[in-house]
């Protein structure tokens, strides 16, 4: 990890306000990619709550080099939680599958987001951890608090769905 970021963590842990601001700038894009992919419409709320939690607990991070893995765990859990909250206009949150016809819009057909919206937040979280971050099943299971077999089956279903929607 970048040495500057490690220094920022140590300074922020001592209460340096400027370091906190700079560390926030460094972490926001990373957190935004995780939360946006999993929580979709609730991604901004999830990113905010993730970073509030990160900064409130920053002093508990003993090894600054582990920052991004630590933040990723918080972000994934917060994004899954936020995605399950009832939000007006969020069909996934209510457990409903979006109505067919999304392909009728020529400007959005083929958009990754449209496929993701038809997955559950848990399936999106698996895809993010395994396919975007390259974590193994054991680590993904630890972060999500589920059994390895659950990770395996969710991933299989999510990948199959994604590819089917993407190629047809």
């Amino acid at each position: 990890m970048n040495v500057d970021v490690i220094d920022l963590v140590r300074s922020a842990q001592r209460g340096d306000a400027l370091a906190m601001s700079q560390l926030l700038d460094a972490l926001a894009p990373y957190v935004g990619r995780i939360c946006g992919a999993i929580a979709l419409e609730a991604g901004e709320d999830a990113a905010q709550e993730t970073l509030i939690s990160v900064f409130r607990r920053l002093r508990s991070l003993r090894e600054p080099a582990a920052l991004y893995g630590w933040v990723r765990t918080i972000a994934v859990r917060e994004a899954v939680r936020a995605a399950h909250l009832p939000v007006a206009g969020n069909p996934i949150a209510s457990g409903e599958v979006p109505a067919p016809g999304w392909r009728d819009d020529p400007e959005t057909a083929g958009d990754v987001r449209r496929v993701l919206e038809r997955l559950t937040p848990d399936q999106r979280a698996i895809l993010v951890l395994r396919d975007l971050h390259g974590l193994d099943e054991a680590e993904a299971a630890r972060i999500l608090g589920v059994a390895r077999g659950t990770v395996k089956s969710r991933l299989h279903r999510a990948r199959a769905f994604f590819r089917r929607e993407w190629t047809t």
């Binding site: 922020a12 209460g15 306000a17 400027l18 906190m20 601001s21 926030l24 926001a28 894009p29 957190v31 935004g32 990619r33 939360c35 946006g36 992919a37 929580a39 979709l40 991604g43 901004e44 999830a46 990113a47 905010q48 970073l51 509030i52 900064f55 409130r56 920053l58 083929g110 958009d111 990754v112 987001r113 993701l116 895809l127 993010v128 396919d131 975007l132 990948r159 994604f162 993407w166």
Partner: protein
């Protein structure tokens, strides 16, 4: 396009950024209020720290910018309230 490209991302707007920093800084106080006024009118006052701050924060009697580093400012505030101080904006 593949599974690993073009995933949706979320960005922090300035208000969310402020909420996070306020939660992180031990002595920070943060309040939000929606004003029934045009943004330009509000920002015309709020964006002018030196002259505008005493107009909307009545316990502030004066504010001076004593240093600047990029977008960060060091300011000294005079106030009726004892121990009131603002380290940066």
């Amino acid at each position: 396009m593949s599974l690993s490209t073009d995933w949706p991302t979320s960005e922090l707007d300035p208000v969310r950024r402020m909420r996070i920093l306020a939660a992180a800084l031990p002595r920070a106080a943060f309040r939000e209020r929606v004003l029934d006024a045009a943004f330009a009118d509000v920002w015309g006052i709020a964006g002018d720290l030196v002259r505008g701050t005493p107009q909307w924060k009545k316990d502030v009697t004066g504010l001076a910018i004593v240093g600047q580093e990029g977008e960060l400012l060091d300011v000294v505030i005079r106030s009726y309230v004892p121990f009131f101080a603002l380290g940066g904006v």
